[in-house]
Symmetry: C2
Subunit: 341 residues, 2 copies
């Protein structure tokens, strides 16, 4: 019944809340899960100082010093070129070398994608990686009734061919199967209409191929309206459209918050209503707190990289570590390649 | 001070609420605006029956019989092929022949776009038409402080070249200038990052060209988050991305309504809160009732076609007619061509 040990390399640097929060999350993971090891990558002084402050399982925490890191505002390519020992690169290299099994980082997304592309190998049958993310939906899914869908690609690849879209479908389905315990996740292809012939040529061709692909439960094209509705467990699109869609969801929720604030100031009646609603809003926020679901995986490489949100607190980091370990234990890479080769 | 008479051809058929609602809107227009004429196109029996029921200016209402029409569920190409005298085609032909100046229709969008493409000519310098639409934003703009932005293309053209995106920018800016009385509307190009080099090649090239194009106040790339925020007065994108984005906005608002309903049933406290909020929500709904702003113009042709929502009531139809007349009076076509040739 004992699980095979899994080591997660945590890129401790470059997140919004600083190294302590990342160390705290990794430390908690070693207390919660006896088969998990944390390899903390970053400034060793800061890491050791943080470790003195937080409870952790001493035998399952190791530190790897990286003298540099990529900041959020830096251009990924330039930053990686000029900082060959940046923490994100070191973390990725440790996984490549077999010293760890997967990476968790709350640093720059672009640097993470690029570090993977420069270090890892693409899985057999995959020509382009995808960044996937979960987002809250109106309906639940999977064994745990998660009110989340997975969408990919949301920005790793701006132009995707029909082949790439098919690979994204396989990758997303495999991830949902393992992480959400959703045995036969439904996969929808994002287009401007539900009919098979709708969309640009690459989408039309991907639709045809997905219809006959075994192992993927393809439900056809989905439209923009289906994203918040949660019509499909996995939504497939190119990184350009996916990025616009994802950021729009963020923008909508910000705008709703703005309007609520405005209402709060403006009208006593609204104010009273909002006060009464606040416990409900709080619960809604908890339900839709997607960070607890472990961040955004970069899929398509032989090794897994999970990008946690820059704003991640310890709990989100710890959950990202658990998700990464689960993907490793269930051999996500093999699961993907099986259907593509 | 008297305005030149303008005639609007109303496609009376194929909307969700039936001919009476369209006739009512057109009739109201003739009462409100002494320079406007309504040419009602559709089943003359139904139109005449409707006219007997609603007040209208008898000298400025005419009827043109069309024996057929395109229903919402029909495939546009097949429908137009098999129904050469469908109301939408007749309306477009009447404008082409000079019997009317612009079309308003609440019927099938696809049939409208196709009827225009088969009948009208593209403006000099325009290679592809675009469907534009307004959507509510957090901030107001223009002389009337409209809380709306214009986005185009939202579905007329799935693949757009850099040239097309530049033309869309010119078309959208001209429309915003005339309709929203916004002298120098800001134009943003939708991409997956604000930097000039972000996005697929067509977007990168369009960015470069827009930076040096005179007459368009280009503010650079905007991201998905900027759509609901209203960062730009006009958002430019290809029809594939635009369609996904627009439908996603619809889906989000539907999902919020669902959650509100759920909350209403679920919890007494929420219920009380929502009841108190309802007057606020009602006002918000009025503010964001974009139908009063006149529907979605098909831009790029020598003649204007305004697609009102299928669910439009009389007021929305009447406003679409006013908007169409305004565009005609201000010579929207010439305004667009001026910058493109």
């Amino acid at each position: 019944m004992s699980q095979r040990p899994v080591t997660i390399a945590f890129d401790v640097m470059g997140s919004d809340h600083g190294p302590l929060e990342i160390v705290r999350g990794a430390a908690q993971l070693t207390l919660d899960s006896p088969h998990l090891h944390a390899l903390l990558v970053g400034d060793s002084e800061q890491i050791n100082a943080a470790l003195r402050e937080v409870r952790h399982h001493g035998e399952r925490v190791a530190v790897h010093h990286a003298p540099d890191f990529v900041a959020m505002h830096e251009k990924p390519g330039q930053a990686l070129d000029s900082k060959p020992r940046a923490s994100v690169l070191e973390a990725v290299r440790l996984v490549k070398a077999g010293d760890a099994d997967a990476v968790v980082s709350a640093g720059s997304t672009g640097a993470g994608v690029l570090a993977c592309a420069r270090t890892f190998s693409l899985l057999p049958g995959v020509r382009r990686a995808a960044l996937a993310t979960v987002y809250p939906t109106a309906t639940g899914r999977g064994a745990r009734n998660d009110p989340f869908s997975l969408i990919l690609d949301v920005g790793a690849t701006v132009d995707a061919s029909a082949d790439d879209l098919v690979a994204f479908a396989v990758m997303g389905a495999a991830y949902a199967r393992i992480i959400s315990r959703n045995e036969r996740p439904t996969v929808g292809l994002l287009s401007n209409g539900t009919e098979a012939q709708k969309g640009p040529p690459r989408v039309v061709e991907a639709h045809q191929r997905l219809q006959t692909l075994e192992g993927v439960r393809f439900i056809g094209n989905v439209e923009g309206v289906d994203i918040p509705k949660g019509t499909a467990d996995v939504v497939v699109c190119d990184g350009f459209v996916g990025n616009v869609a994802l950021k729009m969801l963020e923008g909508v929720s910000e705008t709703v918050m703005e309007l609520a604030k405005y209402a709060y100031k403006e009208k006593l009646l609204w104010r009273a209503g909002l006060a009464l609603l606040s416990s409900g809003v709080q619960r809604l926020k908890e339900v839709t707190d997607w960070e607890q679901y472990g961040g955004a995986p970069i899929l398509g490489f032989d090794k897994l990289f999970i990008k946690a949100h820059g704003r991640s607190k310890a709990r989100a980091i710890s959950n990202a570590g658990k998700v990464a370990a689960k993907a490793v234990s269930h051999e996500l890479g093999a699961e993907i390649s099986k259907l593509l080769t």
